[in-house]
Subunit: 354 residues, 2 copies
């Protein structure tokens, strides 16, 4: 157990319980350790996870809680042994800020599956008591091994959501070999789905979007989708039977997964990246009859996240965002719950000074 | 549409409806076509599928129905263009006797997934009307491309169940790379599971059996299992969390799949090969949190079935069978329903003459 010194004053917005609105909050972060980087935060994306955590919907929330894990900023100070970053570098922090570094998964660069993963907020620091606090704040201190280099050619506010939404889609698309000749179906066109369309398109795959209504059809074409299908039209499920190599299910609503699984061809794979509240009902026959796979995927490791950022840099992939001041955070949460965002809210942290 | 001539008199046992016992039945098979092989059947295994079909539990049964798709016999005649078999060869026939031969899956040697698959019984022949009849009979006529060479060093009565049960386990074990260094869990030690243990062991993997009680523990060790766990002991599910690379689920009873999925390590795969009556409930979180796969597998193609037979020949893998006369068929069905068989019934067709 280590002892952390606390002297860095930070301003942010926090939830103080599961039901009140978020409000201004001042707190301290640890002093810079040898391998730490201090980041002045400029932008932070709002992920649906933030809302689940704030409302304690997963039952493990600690308050006060400063959410936020799509963090972009500029290095303002570095610890004495930091080698990978310099003051002035544009950097990012995603969903986690440390892990055990010794287990098999850490060694494979799959830290996201480490059982000692330290999440960016609502996690417990190595001192065994301090709760981590996230990016709805003006500064953060993170070990350099968990910090990402942000591409200079992407607008930081449009790149911020890549740090969670982007890697969440990139990782399974890479693992299941999305690329030329492959037919990809993206289920749901929200914060996750819209980046999935852009990445899958840039990988050279044929991309179809399956969305409830036709409202987002035009947008999806601009993002690089080849086809758009309404999932409220039963003909969609007849027409596309056995069509896709890979489907990424980004929706957290409980839908009939069998209908969608049936759209996979022989050896096709559906990856769940959104967590529905309830268990899903699966027909084993649907899996057996065409050797279909159902699997899940959780964000990505640090190395792969950097590769994703470099890929997005190369292909100029930015997220479609609505920039808001921190004072609008509670309103933004309401709009996310009502699926009224195209396609991701990002907080401009300069508003904290107001 | 072709016309089939019928002149070959055959004796067998048939179901005449979904509820009566099977009884003696005489029928005709097609005359030998150019590429056909006539087989004098010596043995036929009893698969649980036979019972589902006889009882019309899948709703697509045609009567009278002569079941049986684990057929071993000797070639007694060959068509004018047959090149792969000679009179006197010991041969086998599995779950299907033809397919379209032109689709992508057929071309890949995955005929079992062809949408025009002609099942060994209860299928409709290329004349569009004749119902295929299976191996509970003294003769069968099959196109040589759907006939297997049976290894000379295996007892034919002990090899018969390889043609369905054997390939059902071999195919997913190969696809998911069972072998040295891999930890395999076989769920259920019945007709399917017991062959799975033998094959996985011969592949050099570490094999664990998860079975309801400890009754079959001793047997499983003889088959090559390294470990045996009772699935009725809750500690099993604590102890083995995140342990297996591959699990093959052979049980058709509806169990809590999440409990078993939780036993897979990162990137582990559970293959369902038994079809439960009802849908399964899956927790997406269980899949996401360790990138676990849930998939299914259906028997195997002709080439892979031959490879499986050759593998079993090399490793002297035979099934544990209880040989019965055809007159005992209805009693055997009852015993299978009550899980009272170690581990597969095989019919000695010489009893048809009695």
């Amino acid at each position: 157990m280590i002892t952390l010194g606390f002297m860095i004053e930070v301003k942010g917005y926090a939830a103080h319980n599961a039901s009140s609105p978020l409000s201004p909050f001042s707190f301290e972060r640890r002093n810079l350790l040898d391998y730490d980087v201090m980041i002045d935060i400029n932008y932070c994306g709002i992920c649906h996870t933030d809302i689940h955590q704030v409302k304690n919907e997963w039952g493990r929330s600690n308050y006060p809680m400063v959410p936020g894990h799509e963090i972009v900023g500029v290095v303002s100070k570095v610890g004495s042994k930091v080698t990978q970053f310099k003051v002035g570098n544009q950097v990012g922090v995603g969903c986690f800020v440390d892990s055990c570094r010794n287990c098999d998964t850490c060694k494979k660069g799959l830290e996201q599956y480490c059982s000692s993963l330290l999440t960016t907020y609502n996690g417990i620091e190595k001192d065994g008591k301090t709760i981590t606090q996230g990016g709805y704040s003006n500064k953060i201190i993170v070990d350099e091994n968990y910090v990402l280099h942000m591409p200079e050619n992407l607008k930081p506010e449009n790149a911020a959501p890549l740090l969670c939404a982007g890697i969440t889609l990139y990782s399974p698309l890479m693992k299941w070999n999305a690329g030329p000749g492959k037919k990809i179906g993206i289920i749901g066109l929200g914060g996750l789905g819209h980046i999935g369309v852009k990445i899958a398109h840039a990988l050279g795959a044929e991309v179809s979007v399956l969305s409830h209504s036709h409202k987002k059809q035009k947008d999806s074409m601009k993002m690089g989708a080849d086809y758009f299908y309404s999932s409220s039209d039963p003909k969609t499920f007849e027409k596309l039977e056995g069509y896709f190599d890979i489907m990424i299910n980004t929706i957290s609503a409980n839908v009939d997964l069998n209908e969608y699984l049936n759209l996979l061809k022989l050896d096709g794979t559906m990856v769940i990246v959104g967590i529905p509240e309830k268990d899903s009902h699966i027909s084993p026959y649907t899996l057996i009859s065409a050797r279909r796979n159902l699997t899940g995927s959780l964000i990505g490791g640090i190395l792969e996240t950097q590769q994703m950022l470099d890929f997005c840099s190369k292909h100029k992939i930015e997220c479609d965002v609505e920039l808001i001041s921190i004072q609008k955070i509670n309103e933004a949460y309401e709009r996310i719950i009502n699926s009224d965002v195209r396609y991701r809210f990002v907080i401009d942290l300069s508003s904290l000074k107001c």
